[in-house]
């Protein structure tokens, strides 16, 4: 998004402006409402939700739903709370993001600075893999993970997320490095610098912004993934799958306040990243439409 707001050439009348402000505020309400509802109902006793108004502030404030969601709520058959699944997600997300970003950087470097015949095809084939419906790979993936002994493990999920993540990370770095002057690379080559030396000394130092974009995008995607987690998670299910199990469980009283607390817990890491580095988040989303 443009950092400098330009003068808008089109100007509107006073009444139109009031109308625009009203509409914009109304939409802000629409976007904030679910978060507000989840937030306030996660600090209410259950009786206040079932017997009271969903929009009202709590009469009695309590953190019990949060404690329950974190450490004692029934997930599936075990009363473990979401804590172990949160840990699973972290153990899955950190290596998957790191590996896919590093591989993407190297791929982008090769595809822009060491071009060869057919490189656009190679990139095109990798790029298309970002957009396939993953249903098409679920069955063979389950078989391969089984054969490798990785079914239902965190390393298995890391593998899956790296494999289907490098298309995007390659795209980011390729578009970014394409704008970097190739003459500098050639000059370094003439001076006797090798392939990795050039990458390390010349390209890596300027890769900060795009690395942030790649890390944020991969982090958000992998943290929020449900399909792979549900299909291959086994006993190492990530947070999203555990949250769904918590919310959908049909036994006992529905503890809405615990569900809300759990949902916010599942959303916190990505929300945190978004509010700290929102600018990069938007850039990553834009780059997802192929044009860098």
């Amino acid at each position: 998004m443009a950092a400098v707001t330009q003068d808008t050439a089109v100007s509107m009348g006073r009444i139109a402006r009031v109308f625009i402000y009203l509409l914009l505020l109304l939409f802000a309400l629409f976007y904030l409402l679910p978060l507000y509802v989840m937030g306030i109902n996660s600090v209410k006793p259950l009786a206040e939700i079932t017997g009271g108004n969903m929009m009202a502030l709590p009469q009695v404030w309590t953190l019990d739903p949060w404690r329950s969601a974190w450490s004692t709520a029934q997930i599936g058959v075990e009363p473990t709370g979401l804590k172990p699944y949160f840990l699973n997600s972290i153990l899955m997300v950190v290596p998957a993001v790191a590996i896919s970003t590093i591989v993407g950087a190297l791929n982008g470097y090769v595809l822009t600075k060491w071009r060869f015949r057919g490189d656009t095809w190679v990139f095109g084939l990798m790029l298309f893999s970002c957009f396939i419906p993953f249903q098409i790979v679920l069955i063979p993936m389950a078989m391969v993970l089984g054969k490798l002994g990785l079914a239902g493990t965190v390393p298995g999920l890391v593998l899956v997320h790296v494999v289907y993540g490098i298309g995007f990370t390659t795209l980011y770095f390729r578009n970014y490095y394409a704008a970097f002057p190739t003459e500098l690379v050639r000059a370094a080559q003439i001076d006797g610098a090798g392939f990795f030396q050039i990458f390390w000394r010349i390209l890596l130092p300027v890769s900060g912004p795009i690395a942030v974009v790649s890390v944020i995008w991969q982090f958000t995607n992998i943290w929020n993934d449900f399909l792979f987690g549900a299909s291959f998670g086994g006993t190492s299910q990530p947070m999203t799958v555990a949250l769904n199990n918590l919310v959908q469980s049909s036994t006992g009283v529905k503890e809405y306040n615990v569900h809300f607390a759990g949902a916010i817990l599942a959303a916190l890491p990505t929300l945190f990243v978004y509010f700290v580095a929102g600018r990069y988040f938007v850039r990553g989303l834009m780059a997802g439409s192929v044009k860098g």
Partner: protein
Amino acid sequence: MSTAPDFRTRLQDWLPKLVLAPSFAVTLLFVYGFIAFTVLLSFTGSKMLPSYNFVGWLNYQKLWALPAWNTAIVNIAIFASLYIIICTAVGLALAIFLDQKIRGEGVLRPIYLYPMALSFIVTGTAWKWFLDPGIGLEKVMHLWGWESFSFTWIKDGDMAIYTIVIAAVWQTSGFVMAMFLAGLRGIDNEILKAAQIDGASNWQLYRRIVIPLLRPAFLSAFVILSHLAIKSYDLVVALTGGGPGRATEMPATFMYSYTFTRNQMGIGASSAVIMLMTIAAIMVPYLYAELKEKK
């Protein structure tokens, strides 16, 4: 003269390709190899486990005769078209309004966009309870004195699909807004000023000049939204679980249940192939055009 430097130069020549090779090999195997395998399975009578007795087009015939698949196709058609149209309309409107030198744009923009950072499971959970007549919106309206207010879509087989549209629009319309806003900010103001001097009204200005100039943003939005729509799985699972009954079955949920819970792997594979072909029909021309431009 030794051969060592020679070997080094040759290694340097090959190094870039060696670095790229593992990624490419992995893509060929895990993407294209797997696609080929799933296509193969779709022509077999696989049930719980893959088998290799070929049955020709039988799975596809069975698939299109299944009421559940037909529901899924009708649902995805309703969902995808409404989702794409509403998201684009809301996104464009918000972008145009935000572009009017709005005070507090810096506050509003992140509010519109933050749902995109959430998991569909979280979105589904939030909206599920918000739309639940027993504790959500309907009850609130009753408590506020609007006794006759009724909003039971999520429990209604005919209307439940629209609740998925609402939640999905909530999640992604801010993102479409961001895309259009970036497009608007990229338009040269001189063009607009010139048109204004020529006496064009605001409405004409947007209709005749601005919106045509935003064509690339429209295309990107369409491609991304349609691909998100066809893949939508998590949101349905979290919001309605495919219900009530099977009213909100989608191709993605259909594929999953037929393959993994109903042990009809052949049919599940054929439904996945249909999904892939639909997405490929949209993505391949788009990617081809994008990559060609770049050359």
